[in-house]
Symmetry: C2
Subunit: 389 residues, 2 copies
């Protein structure tokens, strides 16, 4: 129906009209006084979202660019790094480190299982010479919908001097992550997730401890050189031309997010997660992440049931019921699908998506009864509304 | 949730982003060659929607302005007119006629009942001197959700020379109305209904027979003088400054409507009507219009159940569940509410509205079970999809 598709992939996410309007303005000069003021304002607001006193830099790149910056500004060739992998994006951190000559100690966890802090403890305890320079991990692994416990991982690191470098691209402004309190040194986020703006901007915070490590790091990248970003942000500007219209959109979305308040956002995301998980269970489908505690609040991965082809299900969802969800990636391709519930989403959108999923599964012969998942959604919505009083 | 409210009143209706973008352009000169071309294009397309070879004029006014034009261009003081009334807008035709000195023969029908063609036949048969100049009627009475049978009313008029003047403000592009084939002389429509643009434009078609009557009519209005509109449209322009941005939006929405095709639109509207009526019945609520045949495809009026206050229900729908429907008007105030299903609406929007209605009625203690109406919606959606193959 024209442009009414419900886009529920784990980013790019839907965009509020307010943000679209804020971007639909004539181009602005990126070195103007007015724009510097906007950079200052937005940078301050980003620190509130990251719950940090560290600088948060804006890179004109998608999330992977900031992941690369999180490696190349702190890791030298030959450095040992511990990379925790429980999905495609953990794998990507390992690949970037390897590309730049790091010696990668890779710890894989079963898909759908969280990274085990006990493993971190063991590896670092055995690192008597303290050669490991950093621990890399996702807060929210988008490919499986796992929420890793960053606080527990930091605690497991004990007194080891390694940096904690976290990809929170789909976690920031979704699940609580007080960067300073939990002691994460480098944290990465992306614009096209909970920030509700199009792809093209990434954010990265750097602790004092990380800056000390950076002093002895030969910067490989020119474009992603964070020293240049720091020098320029002190003057309310960026080293190279920033994505100006995205930053105007970001200013508007940060206003929306901060007006809503982080606590309210986290609670809303928990409701979304519960709605989708309860509904999916009621339909007799299997969740990839079994334990609610480690299930992401941003996205829910569901196993494609026996006897159903993902492409048939996806085709019905898209073309008959106007809902776009995401498939599985790499080895999970065809085996799972992922319902995104971040960005400009409301409870009724997810209810609609579940209704669509029911109708598609009904047409495919998997479901015999309609309305069962929707009813669960309604119950969860009413429960949260009741508690909210 | 920011701007995600589902607006399901019987107009102003929701607007497609394509149309919003078409209107968000710098002002255009209304006497420019380029704009004349747009007027020509839009006027031709309006004739396709009206299914007429008559001119269709655009008035910069809301629907009531065009209703006034439909009186003052054809009726002189002292003229007898027959006005069929089964709701607020029938009453409005009677009031306008009375204001301009017509002698109104008013025939009221029970609220929720269609205008009876037999009554028309009787009145006109008894009008031996053929003094009655026109029959006024709504195709779709928005206040009650009644669809009057225009074809049958025309047939009931037999050989009587009275004009048939129809308010199709909420009927045009919703339910079939072949203006020429059915022999309606003057037909009125409005922008903020099925045309999916904001209020401020109205449309009126005039038959050759009506123009003959107009020759002997002293035009009361200056602004709504259709002679001036006809003279100007022949030169692809308007007598007075038109609402240029609305016309740019109209051009886009006509492209959308004609690409979808009238047959498909009527069918979709029948599905909407069936979804809402079946769901409402399943919830144990009472419909104002009992007979499906005479139920409007644009809007459904539902009785507020015993023991429930409309303002409580409305408050929940709006503030808790982000859905805006309309209340009753005049003597139906507090007694009914009306779910609009015209304009930029899709099946899943109505499913969402029914889910919201269920939750609100559950909270108010009227419903004991959730999901019952939603399931009906799903069944009707699947039925239409199956038939559409």
């Amino acid at each position: 129906m024209y442009e009414k598709k419900l886009l529920l992939i784990p980013g790019p996410t839907m965009i509020p009209p307010r943000v679209l309007r804020a971007m639909a303005v004539p181009p602005v000069g990126h070195r103007s006084k007015g724009f510097s003021q906007i950079i200052r304002e937005v940078s301050q607001d980003l620190k509130k979202i990251f719950q940090t006193d560290n600088d948060v830099y804006m890179l004109t790149a998608s999330g992977t660019g900031a992941m690369e910056a999180a490696v190349t500004n702190f890791i030298n060739p030959g450095d040992k790094v511990l990379v925790l992998v429980n999905g495609k994006f953990g794998d990507r951190f390992a690949k970037i480190n390897a590309r730049y000559g790091a010696e990668v100690i890779r710890k894989d966890f079963e898909l759908g299982q969280p990274a085990d802090p006990q493993v971190v403890k063991e590896v670092l305890t055995n690192d008597k010479e303290q050669e490991i320079k950093a621990v890399f991990v996702q807060q929210n692994e988008t490919s499986t919908g796992i929420l890793n416990d960053i606080k527990a991982i930091k605690e497991a690191m004990g007194g080891h001097p390694a940096l904690l470098i976290v990809d929170s691209i789909s976690g920031m402004a979704v699940s609580n992550f007080p960067v300073d309190e939990w002691g994460a040194d480098v944290v990465v986020a992306g614009s096209q997730k909970a920030f509700m703006i199009p792809p093209g901007l990434a954010f990265i915070s750097v602790s004092e401890k990380a800056w000390k490590v950076n002093e002895n790091c030969k910067n490989f990248n020119f474009y992603f050189d964070l020293k240049a970003a720091r020098k320029n942000l002190a003057k309310d500007t960026t080293p190279y031309t920033p994505a100006t219209s995205l930053i105007l959109g970001l200013r508007e979305s940060l206003n929306i997010l901060l007006a809503e308040g982080l606590e309210n956002i986290y609670r809303k995301q928990e409701m979304f997660k519960e709605m989708v998980r309860e509904a999916v269970r009621a339909l007799g489908l299997e969740l990839l992440v079994k334990d609610d505690k480690y299930a992401a609040a941003a996205i829910t991965a569901v196993k494609v049931p026996e006897g159903i082809e993902w492409k048939d299900l996806n085709n019905l969802l898209n073309n008959e019921f106007n809902v776009e969800v995401a498939g599985g990636q790499d080895e999970l391709k065809g085996k799972i699908f992922r319902i995104g519930h971040i960005g400009y989403v409301q409870d009724m959108d997810l209810l609609q998506a579940i209704a669509a999923l029911e109708m598609a599964l009904y047409k495919l012969g998997f479901l015999k009864e309609l309305g069962v998942g929707v009813k669960k959604c309604q119950e969860v919505i009413l429960k949260y509304k009741e508690e909210g009083k």
